[in-house]
Each structure stands twice: as structure tokens, then as C-alpha cells.
Amino acid sequence: MSLQPDLMLWLALAPFVAALFAPALVRRIGSSAGWVLAIVPAALFLMFVTMVPQIAAGDTVSYGVDWAPSFAVRYSHLIDGLSLTFALLVTGIGTFIVIYAGGYLSGHHQQGRFLAFLLLFMGAMLGLVIADDLVSMFVFYELTSITSFLLIGFDHTRAPARRAALQALVVTGSGGLALLAGFILIRVVSGETSVSELFASPDVLRDAALYPAIFVLVILGAFTKSAQVPFHSWLPNAMEAPTPVSAYLHSATMVKAGVFVLMRFSPVLGDTALWETVLPLFGGATFLTGVLLGVRQTDLKQILAYTTVASLGLLVMLTGVGTEYALAGAVLYLVAHALFKGALFMVAGAIDHETGTRDITILGGLLKSMPITFVAAILGCLSMAGLPPMIGFIAKEVLYDGVWEAGGVSAVTVTALVGNALMFALAAAVLIPFFAKPGELPKKPHEAPPSLWLGPIVLGVLALVGAFMIEGTAHSLISPMTSAIAGEAVELHLHLWPTGLYPPVILTMITIALGIVFFIFFKTLRLLMVDLLETVGWGPDVGFDQLMRGLVKGSHALTKRLQSGAMQQYVTLTFVILAAVLLLPIAVDGLPDFRFVGEVDQPFDLVILGLAVAGLWVVIISKSRLVAIVSLGVQGVMVALIFMLYGAPDLSFTQFMVETLSVVILALVMTRLDLKTVDHRLPADAMKDGVIALACGLGFALVLYNTVQQPFDDRLSQFFLKHAYEIAHGRNVVNVILVDYRALDTLGEISVVMAAGLAILALIRMGPRLKSAVVGPPADRADATRVGAEPSAATIAAERPS
């Protein structure tokens, strides 16, 4: 290792720092900021290149620092064949993307923000691939989703872009949550917190009873991110983002995060029946879906997007097959795809930039006007079609090796064959703009500036050089990465040119032949697909809208019941719960043992009690609210009398004053509110309320009865009495309690009194419309009625592309 590990930890965060400065830099030096900012990924790329020999020699390096030690989370890196290759792709392609974005969005008023998002993404993606600790891996994983969301919605004035952004967020976000649950489950089940620790005890997850749960959660995360059927539709929609984003995030790197996770965990989760069934199944389905839907497209970017979906399916399928050569094929294909798809997206962007359209039915004749771009395109297309002498060719050879080795003529093999043939045809279709007769082009085409063709050319040349120097490529990148995925040392011996006529070569020949046939009937095929899709009329993309609309509508219906806006209902429910709270424990434990605890000292007590009860009775039967309020006061006054009789004149007086004030204020408020003076409830409602009230009353009575039956521990009272005079200098214990023993309570209470006075003043002064407050519709239903017109569902529907 050429650099200090600590330094590596911080250097890997450099893109985030660069992102912070990007807007300011663009403001200062304009679009050439792209060239300056590209220094960051370029330097990182070189740093990772220096590590290649060490990793190729079979080393893995891990290091880190504590992040949240009390939760056993570290910020740590694991550099092995898998992470190094990914890191090289992220920083290498990233360098050219940043340069490209400088030119592509030159003069755009939000270019600074765009570059910032792009660099944020780069930091997140780099952090993800080299992460060792599970939690930090997840953090970066989510960050890639967030930045992707921001970048897809970048062209925010267009409704389809906004919809695509939301869709990507929802799909990858839900997957992210599943992955989170999966990662945490891994932590709990294995007791390990990082990938390298898991590798040290590789069977701990496979042997666990909860393995199926972990498996499902992890692949849910991976499948949503890597756009596997049926979650694939967000990816083609994400092409709403500016082309550098499509090239970088949505083909070369971010969408491979799901595949990365599968490859990362293949040594500890793979090699089970579940893994080897589910992955090839979904991967294969995605592969075929991707190429078939790709045929239907006429937009260059859409064609590339669907082939990306297909390629991701292929990668998942191969990872699932899991044999040595299948994995090697996946690795080679992954690298090849990153190079050619990154290049082709940039080509598509350049064509769009120079001609104003990406429609292959209009484009033509660009061979003459854009020769350099054509060179980049032809290199990319050769690799995509799987033709020599490109790395894509080797990838296809090796993957045929892999699937053949796994099962001869199997469903997987046939899928690979058909898919590759269609891919061949689509690669050819990408070249149409250069050869066909041009239609009406919005702009007169001429060659793109260097910032736009530099990236694709370099990537194309790399795909070529990598193939010619396949021994070196295999040794330094492909074998270490395959080893990391397989979980054991693998040494591959690869050749550019086949050395004999064994099955994979025959499969390749069939592929090419079939591909040519497909291309000849390309238009027919497209029309066929259009018809087919129109007949079906439904797909996951439509399903997404239906789901969202259903979700909003359903939650609206549910919330309307939970929060109806009717005060009466809230209060009723509250008291029903209160009654249950009071009575249920007693119902379970049985009634208290009724004994008469005290005795009546003075017959006068009974009179007071009788009056209080009479007051309450009047409250219940009175038709007028005013009478009810006053009668309520009677009961309070009786309580004051009891205080008086039992030696607490202060309390008695206070109670009396409070009672009087309550009656006066309540009466004033009632009259001011102009409430109906009579109770207008239906008898049935009144009965229901009465039952609830009785239940609550009974509950409180039983609780109090239970309390007085307990022997009362009066050490507090005794203490208060004992020290009131000698230490607190007061003979009136009530007052000593108020201003000394529990003065803090009094301090709080006087602030309550003060606030209450002020609040009532505010109510009276600021609310001259007090009457209407109670008469008008309730506040929390006002909204509900608006929603009744369904703008919530309509708004989301409005976001659908027309």
C-alpha cells in the first residue's frame, strides 16, 4: 500500500468536499470548472491504480476508524478485487463525466448545482464500494439513492422528470429500507459488523435459521436498485436526467450498486438453493424484458436505458449461477458494460447536443459531420454487440463458458443466447444515426467539442486495449474481482481469440447470426412489440401510478375516519378509553372488599353530602346550561365547606373563591359564545353519553375507595406539621406548604395563573369573531372537504407523462 490508511479514509471523502466548492467555482470560472473539478476523481483514480499490484497479488486490505463506537459502527474500508475494480470504474469514468458535464451543461444557470450533485454522488458511490462496515456501507448506499433522486429531478420544470424522480425515490427508497432491515439482521444474527468479519466466518449466515429472511431483505434492496423485473421501470424513466447523469449513474455505476451488493455478499449468502434459483430467475427475466422493451424504442437514450436494464439482469443471472466462469463472465461483462455504455450514453448526449434530437427514425448521416464521435460510437457498439476485438467479446465468451459449464443447454443458456442476439441487434441500431439518410433535424450537425468526445473515445479505446492486453487485465483486475465474489482464490486464463471450436464459440456464432437476422427485421420487430404492449396495456410503470394513487386515496379515506374533525367524537372516544382504563383492572382483579372505613363524626356531613349530590343531580337534569353551571358550583361550595369543618380555612376560602370565579367565567364565556342554551342531543345520544359518564364515575369511585382502604402513610404531613413553626417560622401550615415546603410548585402555579390571565385577555381582545369560531366548520375538517375534490390524486396523476 502506497498511502497511509488514515489518509485513504479521508481522501475517499474528497468528492464531497469538491461538491461544496463546485457552485462557487462555476460562478467564478464558468463551465471550465468541469476540467478543474475532474482533478479530484482523476487523482483518486491514480491513487487506486497504485494499489492494483498489491491486490492482484492476492492481498485484501481493511482499515478504519470508530464512527459511533457505542453502537459498534465504524467508518472503514475493505479493499479487495471487487471494491478496487468498482473504485477504478467510479473514479475513472467519473473523471470523464465531470469533464463532459462541464461542456454539456455549459451556460446552464444551475451548472454549479449540477456538478455539486454529481460529485456528491461520486463520493457516495465510492464510499459504498469500498465500505467494510455494514452500517457505513448502507449510509453510502442511501446517499446514492438520494443524489440520484436529485439528479433525475434536475430538469425540474418538466413534469415527466419530476415524476421519474419521485418514482426512483420510492422504488429505491423502499428497497433501501429492506436492505437496512437485512443488514441489521445480519449484524444481529452473526454478531459481526463488517464484511471482512463476515468473510472470516463465511457460513454463519447460511447456517442461520433466519437465512431466508436475510436473503429476501438483501435481494429486495439489490433488485430495486439494480432495476430488476418488476422494479425496473424507474430506470428508463430516469433518463429524464441530463445525459451525463444517465451515462454515469444510470448505466455505469449507481444502478450497479444492487449488483455490487449481491457480489459483495455472494461469499456469505450465495451457494444456496435459494440464491441459485431466485437470482437466475429474476435476472433472466430482466435480461429478456430489457432487450425486448429496448427493441420497441426509437429514442437513442431509451434504447440504451433498456439495454442497461437487460445488462443488469444478465449480471444478476450470472451472479446467481455462481460458477467460476459465470462469475468471471459477470465481472468481465460488468467492466465492459461500464465502458461501452458510459461511452454510448455520452455519444447519445453529444448527438442530442449537436442535432437537437435523439430519435433514430429522424437521425442520419452523422458519419460525415461527426467523425470523431462516430469512432467512439463504433468502439462502444462493437463491445456491446460482443464482437472482437473488444472486451465485450471476451466477456460474452467467458459467460457462455460459465452457463455451459453450469448446465449445458439449459433455460439460462437459451436466455443468454436470445438476449445477446437481441443486444447485438440493438447495438447495430445505435449506429443507425451515422449511416441512415437524415430526416428533418432541428439543428445542423457538426462535430462536438473535445469535452464531449474525449470521454467516449477514451472509454472505447480502453475497451479495445483491455481486450488486447487481456492477460494483464485478467491478472490485475478480473481474477482478483472474481476471487472476491467467489470467496476463494481464482486464477483465470483468458484469451482474446478462441483457440478451438468448443461450445461457447458455437454459441457466439449462433448469437451473431441470430443478431443479424433480428437487425434485418428490426422495424417489424419494433412494430410487433408496440402492438403487443398496446394489447397488454398495463405494466409496472402504470402500476406505480396506480399504487401511488391508491396509497394516497386509501390513506385519505383512513385518515378521514381517524381524524374526523368532530370534537364530540374525540371527547367520547377519550372518555370511553378512560372508563376502560379505570374499570378493566378492577374487572380483572375483582371488586374491592367493601368495608365501611370511617364513621360520620357530625351529622352535618351528611347534609353537606346530600346538598352536593342534589347539586349534581340538577346539573344532569337541567335543560339550561346556565343552571347547570351554577349547580356545578354548588358541589364545589360543599367541598369548601368540608374543608372548613375539618380545620383548613385557607383551603376552604380558596376553594370557594376558585369555585365562584369558575362559575362566573364559565357563565360569561357561555353567554359570549352565544351557545344554544338548551341541550339538543337526541335521547339515544344522551343515553350513550350518560352511560359513559356513569362508567367513568364508577371507575373513579372505585379507585378512590381502593385508595382510602389502604393505610395512609402520613410521614409527609407529619414532617410538615413538625417543622412548620420551629424551622419555617409559620404557624399556618397551609401557608408554609405554599411558600416554603412546596414553594416551587407555587412558583409554577403562579406562572400558570399569570399565563391564564394573559391568554384570556388575548382571547377576548384578539377574538372579536369568537362567535363564528364555534359556529363555522371545524379547522381540521376544512382540509378534508378540500381533499374531497381529490386534488391529491389529481396532482399525482398530473405528474404522469402524457
Binding site: D650, F653, H729, N732, L738, T746, L747, V753, I764
Partner: protein, 137 residues
Amino acid sequence: MSTLIFRTIAPYLSALMVLFSVFVLLRGHNEPGGGFIGGLIAASALAIYGIAYGVDVVRRALWVDPNALAGFGLFMAAVDGLSAILAGKPLLTGLWFVPVIFGVEIPLSTVLVFDVGVYFVVVGSLASIALALEESD
């Protein structure tokens, strides 16, 4: 309500009640009484005066905004609680000074100051409510 008799006796009644309220406040520590009750009585006095002569008269007679008086009461009580810091005692500890002036023991204490704060809060807040209600009728 504003009969002649009422208007005639109201000032005397109010004045008497205010005086009585102060008496109740001061004797509170040893006999029934205290800031709370004193405040209630004084607020009633102001309310009666207001009913007899109108709110404006009361406001002028009061000199200060009743709410401000309440605020000052809280401020006083809280600062009084804080004052124990000077004696090295915890919050709200009662500190007593009993100077003998002309042979009479005058018990002064932070406790009394606190009670006066309570008195102010109760007077101010309740008077404010009462006056506002009377005013808006």
C-alpha cells in the same frame, strides 16, 4: 347594577377590601391567609370598583397595567427563589431576618417576599380578566 347606592359605597368597599387583602397577605404565615387569598380579595375589590365606575377609572387608579403587575409578581418570586444563592443555600430556601425596631420584632423573610409575588400575580391576572370582561360588555 350601577345604582346610586352601589356607586356610593363602591369606593369605600373597594378600599376596605384592598386594605383587608394586604392584612390577609401579611398575617398569612401564622393565621389563615396568604398571598393567594389576599390576591383574590384585592382582585374582587378592583372588579367591584370597575363595575361601579367603569374600567377606565380603575385602569387610571391602578397606574400600572394589571398584566404587567402579574409579570412583576412572577419576576419577584423567581428572583426571590434565586436569592438563596447568596446565602449558599438551595433554591427557594427561606431566609429570615428579624430586626428589632423600637422593641418590636419585625419578621422579614424571603418567604414573605415570595408571598407578595404571589399576591401580585393573582391580583394582576384576575383583575386583568375581570376588567377585560367588563370592558367588552
